[in-house]
Symmetry: C2
Subunit: 412 residues, 2 copies
């Protein structure tokens, strides 16, 4: 779970940068990166950061410095990483949509992961000599929520495992060199599932003699609040390592391992800092209204996801003298679904949460929001500008990562 910034620091950030503001913790980002880099492996490891989780350039640069590579989900993301100064050779493009400038990206050294038979044919035409990766749907999925399960027959991601003979035909005909093999099936915490997926994937790799790297994607679930289960990277890694070792014993091939965490690296390194703009009551319910909401964090509405929420009094008071009360925390949009306290797994149903008693003008932190919040929210709804983003550096200094958007930029 996230480490809470101090109340004093929170007040000072609200004062200097306004609200709502995303607040990231450099030390936490570094810790997560090091944990990911310690993932067990048999013959080498590359950790690719799934930048769709949070594409801010400052985060990309930090991870680059720590030795992480990049998983880009669109040509725009690949370009964004290049703009941030990431070396092209460290970026792999795994996209549903082929970018218009694919030829240029690949010529500049961006790695390409073909996710369908069509993509194989396009890359063969555009860049016939390049060493590529293929993404396979091994026929199994796993995910904490139906929306993030990306394997199995109801998922469109990757070449369907039974179509690999068709893929091989294209590869042979077009003389493509498949050096990397990719299979990302969703998010889960069970090492046995990871091991099973690794085994199925490696059985498929046997048919591709040039493959030296296997990429099992991401989906390492984190615990945002007490009671949620977090993936144990070490257990999962050891389970996967057993399969890579077994593959080596069977084939003599030493496979390099890649993983692509996004949520794991960033979710619990960020908070949304909001201001309490109103506190209202009905017969049965108290509400905290904030100057943020689905515009910065749509996950509660989309997935019924649970985020830690803390009220920070604007004037310092002793915690022991603060009463507690049950609130629904609602956003600033004119929409009832704009809520941060919802039933687990059910974004349609509000669920009150026990919080410290709140007053208008107090601050509120929403944790576990470093991933899929600033990058995936209903931005500009009700014409609210995109929030500012700041980083608490390791030395405690606060760095502006992104200025708050202006109305002029919205209507551009």
């Amino acid at each position: 779970m996230s480490i809470l910034p101090s109340a004093e620091q929170v007040r000072s950030i609200a004062n200097e940068y306004g609200t709502p503001t995303f607040v990231y913790d450099e030390q936490a980002l570094e810790n997560r990166a090091r944990e990911a880099l310690a993932f067990p492996h048999a013959f080498g490891l590359t950790v690719r950061y799934a930048m769709k989780a949070n594409p801010n350039g400052v985060i990309l640069q930090l991870f680059d410095k720590l030795g992480l590579h990049i998983d880009a989900s669109s040509g725009f993301e690949a370009e964004r990483a290049l703009i941030a100064g990431i070396d092209a050779s460290k970026i792999q493009l795994t996209a549903q949509e082929l970018p218009g400038n694919l030829r240029k990206l690949v010529r500049n050294g961006v790695l390409f992961n073909a996710c369908s038979l069509h993509q194989l044919e396009v890359i063969a035409k555009l860049s016939p000599t390049s060493a590529i990766s293929i993404r396979v749907n091994p026929g199994q999925g796993s995910g904490a929520h139906a929306k993030v399960n990306v394997g199995g027959s109801m998922s469109s991601f990757g070449i369907w495992h039974k179509h690999l003979s068709k893929a091989k035909k294209i590869i042979l005909e077009k003389k493509l060199r498949v050096e990397r093999f990719h299979s990302h099936i969703g998010s889960g915490t069970d090492p046995h599932v990871w091991q099973q997926v690794a085994r199925i994937t490696l059985n498929l790799v046997k048919h591709f003699p040039d493959v030296h790297t296997v990429n099992l994607g991401g989906g390492f679930k984190v615990a945002r609040i007490v009671g949620e289960q977090q993936t144990d990277l070490q257990s999962c890694g050891r389970a996967i390592k057993q399969e890579i070792d077994r593959f080596y014993r069977e084939t003599g091939r030493r496979l390099h391992l890649e993983i692509e965490p996004g949520t794991f690296l960033t979710a619990n390194t960020g908070w949304i800092l909001a201001r309490i703009i109103d506190v209202v009551e009905t017969d049965t319910q108290s509400f905290i209204k904030i100057d943020s909401g689905m515009t910065e964090n749509t996950r509660p509405a989309l997935y019924g996801s649970q985020h830690p929420i803390v009220v920070i009094p604007i004037i310092p008071i002793d915690d022991t003298s603060r009463k507690k009360k049950k609130y629904l925390v609602v956003g600033h949009c004119c929409e009832n679904g704009d809520r941060w306290t919802v039933k687990k797994g059910d974004g349609d149903t509000g669920e009150p949460r026990q919080l410290h008693e709140a007053g208008i003008g107090d601050l509120l932190l929403c944790g576990g929001t470093g991933a899929y919040c600033s990058s995936m929210s209903t931005k500009n709804y009700n014409s609210f500008p995109e929030a500012a983003e700041v980083m608490i550096k390791k030395d405690g200094v606060v760095q502006l990562m992104r200025r708050r958007q202006t109305l002029k930029q919205i209507v551009q």
Copy 2:
């Protein structure tokens, strides 16, 4: 339901403006505005366009020309309407979050609707002499989906009806003049529910002798696809008119009526034009992948909402020779929940749809997307730029309403 643009026009728009692009129909917008203006009333009517549905300046200007006023949900929306050239006196602000420049907005003539006791106190301090509106939660809600139900004790919108005595105390103490009374409770199609809400609301209005205008908000549901029920404005209007007539007989007061449609005015006037970038298969399922998705329309994922979808072949072929097939239509984001064909009311579950057989490069139209799509979607997810918006004018000419965003603007 939306009128489908001609295949020829669709191809020409894709050619000139690229994809994805929002395509609006000026004639349809004008028709909807005239239907709303024909809402039955006893002593006068103002139709306010709930601009959060679609805040594009061209649409605001068109509605302004046709005699509609504006319902702004944030200070930013009010400013956006002013930028579009709307007269301040035609804009009413009904916001969860009070804007920083509220004093200036009100001084310039923007109308204010106080939505909580706190907001009453703020306006009394900022602009003590202004004639205001108050928004009340009458204790009842109605809505097609839990997320759009904005009345009742689990809703934070408006002053709770049992707190009106507190509100009156503030109003009397601060010498505020309450001339308008607002009660928006959600979206429904049943005239009896509208009549009931009108009756409850008007009973509350009796305690506010200066009120000359009652505003019942919006929430007039539309049918986006065959089988959905659309609000009959005439029936609802007649039911409400009976209550306003009754109020007149009982009190001698002639109340002006306001309504605030958003969806009704725009939903079925817009299409998202996308390109089919891939067609893939598993054992049990065929998928159409498009260069759009939740980045332009998050409603299927959020609400399980149903939108008409049409495949337009890129090369003209005779409709009778086209086969049909069941597809899941999925977006370009690396996320399984990025789908446009879902189970009704259940955004977590994909549901195949019978469509004309599709090929890569064909075009696809998604209808019913004029409201809460360009304004409320997970913009820039996977770093995709905001789509372009164009209007098919009444004379058939296509006008650019908003240029496609650039990557440079995203990383600004």
